[in-house]
Assembly symmetry: C2
Homo-oligomer: 150 residues x 2
Amino acid sequence: MKLSTRSRYGLKAVIDLAIAYGTGPVSLPVLAASQGISEGYLEQLLRELKKGSVVDTVRGAQGGYELTCDPAELNVQRVLNLLEGSTAIVDCVGTEHHNCTSACSCSARPLFLKLQTRINDVLVRTTIRELADDYVQQKSRGNPCKNVCE
Amino acid sequence: MKLSTRSRYGLKAVIDLAIAYGTGPVSLPVLAASQGISEGYLEQLLRELKKGSVVDTVRGAQGGYELTCDPAELNVQRVLNLLEGSTAIVDCVGTEHHNCTSACSCSARPLFLKLQTRINDVLVRTTIRELADDYVQQKSRGNPCKNVCE
DNA sequence: CTTAAACCCTAGTAAATTAGTTGCCTTACG
DNA sequence: CGTAAGGCAACTAATTTACTAGGGTTTAAG
């Protein structure tokens, strides 16, 4: 049930980009330093996000990464789907239903479906803008925020 | 975000035991055959469930496994916690909060907390009895149920 | 009392996933 | 042209997952 660090790092980088939205690209070294992780690793995650058209890049000096759309229009599910591959808790309730029919299959399926529905609900409804705004607000109140996990 | 096969197999075995609740122990070969998996592997999972007092065993010939309590009193969270170790999607929102304070920590924390709340809600509210009853009912309607994942 | 069915336990292992690192190439601003 | 930046591929170490193997112990039944 754990979310991978890919997802955690990638999501936080997207939130960083949302905070900087409209102010030009943010470079990899800056994004990596924000979370205290290596540039090489974060780069891979950002490349996935670029493939999925969530971020765009500006090459050359003064370049960096930026969101392709307004953070208010970007939900968490889209981001996590790119980073995680899929946000399905079990394959048989993902977008590809495989061999499990909805009529009836294994005894745990009703649980999996309910869980997946609730999870998707949160992921779809939560926008990157909300998370970015919350974080900026907390910091402005002088709360001891760190974006680094220990 | 995936649920491990441990969890899937273990949970389904518990549902099998719920269906047989009150009719004496069910043997490992029977439980394993129900899902088409090896006895050795399922045995490990059942041992975890025994450690957690969810199932009890009867040794010797005609022995097997049985639930320690009424399936109506047993929720899915308790079962998955034993099988999965923890049902937390990230460590910092588990029962052990580690170094992340609730005041403010990383930018993604509000999302993690919301997600975890919704997940726990489903896991706590769903009883094994519900799942067992649903399954028995589906089968009695002649639906093509299989407890085996393909 | 012997046998066989059943649980008990430890250890090992192959495959997959995760979490990175390394190194070199391309682009573009000044 | 030099340097700062992203692009890309390959490799690797550690961990987790999903098992398998094999021997030990208990107990009901014949």
